[in-house]
Symmetry: C2
Subunit: 125 residues, 2 copies
DNA sequence: TGAATATATCCGTCTATGCGGATATATTAG
DNA sequence: CTAATATATCCGCATAGACGGATATATTCA
């Protein structure tokens, strides 16, 4: 019961709900979330740690980046709660706005990477 | 999103989860919950008020008693969250124990009422 | 009206937690 | 090794909320 309370406590903060809403769309690193949510890095990291402790997200280091994603399936309250979010979160205005910002951010990022790739390592200059 | 956070915040406390678990089995008054949970009346009332503000329970006065029950169906996050609890709470040890205490309490109460009815108003003496 | 009962709210106290700047750590490139 | 970058954690401050005894309110009965 205590663990159940911990799961809900992790979801009882608007910022963490926004993060969950974004992670529903896929894996993201801390700096993506900072950019989309326009929040300081310490705030984003702290909320992610909270979600990780509750078992709702898992992290995966990839070089300098730390990628976060929703905790994998399984069963029980935790998994069903994530499904609940998947069904219900997208309808909320805040989640829609965040989703738009997410897509804009990701495409800008992809374009920047493409530019960098064209110039190549060392670059044209 | 804020409202969603409020729903989860209401469920983020172990005592309130225990109350929700008991109300899943039916309507109860404050004094029933006090007896089953062995908590002071002010604590029980406070938690019930919190759940009511989150829209998770509704109250209904019946004479001196205030009966609480789970908020009626409807749709959306709130209703689906209650369904989530219905599916997952009963499996938890604490909820089982509380359920046993609930049944014991209700049958003792029914028996006391029967006794009172036999003696009738005014009583045998 | 007055007593009894059930409930709601008030109060002071204590802990949990949100915030964001500052600092520490980890990884990569040179 | 050093610099740069991304992230985690620390810190002090402020607020939310849990607790339970005390008090206020509402209802019923005589």
């Amino acid at each position: 019961m205590n663990q159940a309370a911990q799961i809900f406590k992790a979801l009882s903060d608007e910022t963490r709900l926004r993060i969950m809403g974004l992670l529903l769309e896929g894996e993201l690193c801390v700096c993506d979330l900072m950019a989309i949510l326009e929040l300081p890095q310490s705030t984003v990291s702290r909320h992610l740690a909270y979600l990780r402790n509750a078992g709702l997200v898992s992290d995966r280091r990839q070089g300098v980046w730390m990628n976060y994603r929703l905790a994998a399936g399984g069963s029980g309250l935790r998994a069903e709660t994530i499904e609940l979010l998947r069904k219900n979160l997208a309808a909320l205005p805040q989640a829609r706005t965040d989703g738009q910002r997410l897509r804009r951010h990701l495409s800008a990022k992809a374009q920047a990477e493409r530019r960098a790739a064209c110039q190549g390592p060392g670059g044209l200059r």
